[in-house]
């Protein structure tokens, strides 16, 4: 695998490189840093299981691909017992997948509990350097507290669907706070209007100004509206320079994520925590 084939847009090389990202961090970093630095616009899509994230991502990726190369990373959970996983997001992404215009990669969460996967920061970095203008990251179906996506993305789309519970669920800290755009999907189902109104009033009460978009992902309703809203907001972030802040935040969290994993790996390999702390202290004192 050479860096030329990666920057030339060869999908097979990219695919192999992503496998390196998932299996061998040190080689992955070496490979990534051999490519010229370039950033994607990273859109995080999160929400509860079955809310319609994959179907929305399918539509959105096609819209984005009209203006820049677009990739999707779709994350599904790994088993806490046997480590296996069923990665089923592609099922809903047949439009994007058939178009030949979108690169789709499924990833397993591999023990990460924040809704992402261990290799995700490197994967996003790699895609940026390979010339992808947009990367859409779809988290695992989340509950209330899986909010890591906010550290990775330039913009977070929170997808809700009717049937999630009463006002109290919307008032809780965590997932309900992290959206830059709130989507109420399955707009034709009973309770959708009511959900949108509740979200609106609770956001207003909290003094948060956010757009709420109602969509019907399966029927393709209001997709253009959502897509325009996302790209409009991203352009604004680029213009006012805020995108630099979110890139900085991403780099910081990439390092934090790597450090956490190194510690976890050492711990599972039987290194005593006391020894690890001692090593770290020595390293610090040596600075």
């Amino acid at each position: 695998m050479n860096s030329n084939s990666l920057t030339n847009g060869d999908e097979l090389s990219l695919s192999k490189a992503l496998s390196v990202v998932e299996s061998d961090r040190i080689s992955a970093r070496r490979l990534i840093s051999s490519l010229p630095e370039k950033h994607s616009l990273v859109v995080g899509v999160t929400g509860s299981p079955g809310a319609g994230k994959s179907t929305l991502v399918d539509h959105l990726s096609l819209r984005f691909s009209e203006s820049a190369k677009t990739a999707i990373i779709a994350i599904d959970p790994s088993s806490p017992f046997r480590g296996g996983s069923l990665l089923g997001d592609r099922i809903r992404m047949s439009r994007a997948s058939r178009s030949g215009k979108v690169f789709i990669r499924s990833m397993a969460s591999r023990g990460l509990v924040g809704g992402l996967s261990p290799g995700i920061y490197d994967a996003v970095d790699l895609l940026g350097r390979c010339g992808y203008g947009f990367v859409i990251v779809e988290t695992v179906g989340v509950g209330q507290a899986e909010t890591d996506i906010v550290n990775l993305s330039d913009l977070v789309v929170l997808v809700l669907a009717p049937g999630i519970g009463d006002d109290i669920q919307i008032m809780k800290a965590g997932i309900m706070e992290i959206g830059d755009i709130y989507v109420v999907n399955k707009m034709d189902m009973p309770g959708a209007e009511q959900l949108a109104r509740r979200v609106k009033s609770i956001l207003e009460f909290a003094g948060i100004e956010r757009e709420i978009v109602m969509t019907g992902a399966v029927e393709g309703k209001n997709i253009d509206k959502l897509s325009d809203l996302i790209t409009g907001k991203l352009n604004k972030l680029k213009k006012n320079g805020e995108i630099e802040n979110s890139r900085k935040k991403r780099t910081e969290h990439a390092e934090l994520n790597a450090a956490l994993f190194a510690v976890r790996e050492a711990a599972t390999e039987g290194v005593k925590l006391e020894e690890l702390i001692e090593c770290l202290q020595k390293l610090r004192e040596g600075e």
């Binding site: 999908e11 695919s15 299996s23 046997r82 296996g84 069923l86 089923g88 592609r90 789709i104």
Partner: protein
């Protein structure tokens, strides 16, 4: 043990996906990462997905009787795309004679009715080069 990534796909127009789902669950429980792509995939959909996902093994579930043509086409496309080295296994209603023909053409293994899930897991590990 390596973490095997396997693409499970149903090519063609038959809608009988119970087999593919049972197999996907069994392989998930065996610790593999199973990328399930759903019904009615064309050979190029499948090859494209295998390429993007860098699957270690491609598993096809075919109950329509069109296995000869579908497998030929998939193997052809894999060659074109530069992923001919990935092993392809097939499960479903495949007559014995056809199973032999498929293996001659380059299909790594054929799993007929009555295959135990233990055998399936073992053979998939073998063809993935993880013994």
């Amino acid at each position: 043990m390596k973490r095997i990534r396997i693409l499970v796909a149903k090519p063609g127009l038959d809608g009988h996906d119970r087999g593919a789902k049972v197999v996907s669950m069994a392989l998930r429980d065996a610790g593999m990462e199973v990328i399930y792509t759903g019904l009615r995939q064309s050979p190029s959909d499948i090859v494209n997905a295998a390429l993007q996902e860098d699957a270690d093994v491609i598993g096809l579930s075919i109950l329509s009787g069109a296995h000869m043509r579908i497998c030929e086409r998939i193997l052809e496309l894999m060659k074109e795309k530069g992923i001919a080295e990935k092993p392809v296994v097939v499960g479903g209603i495949i007559p014995h004679g056809d199973a032999e023909k498929l293996k001659k053409k380059g299909i790594a293994e054929v799993f007929g009715p009555g295959t135990s899930l233990n055998h399936l897991e073992k053979r998939i590990r073998e063809v993935a080069g993880d013994k």
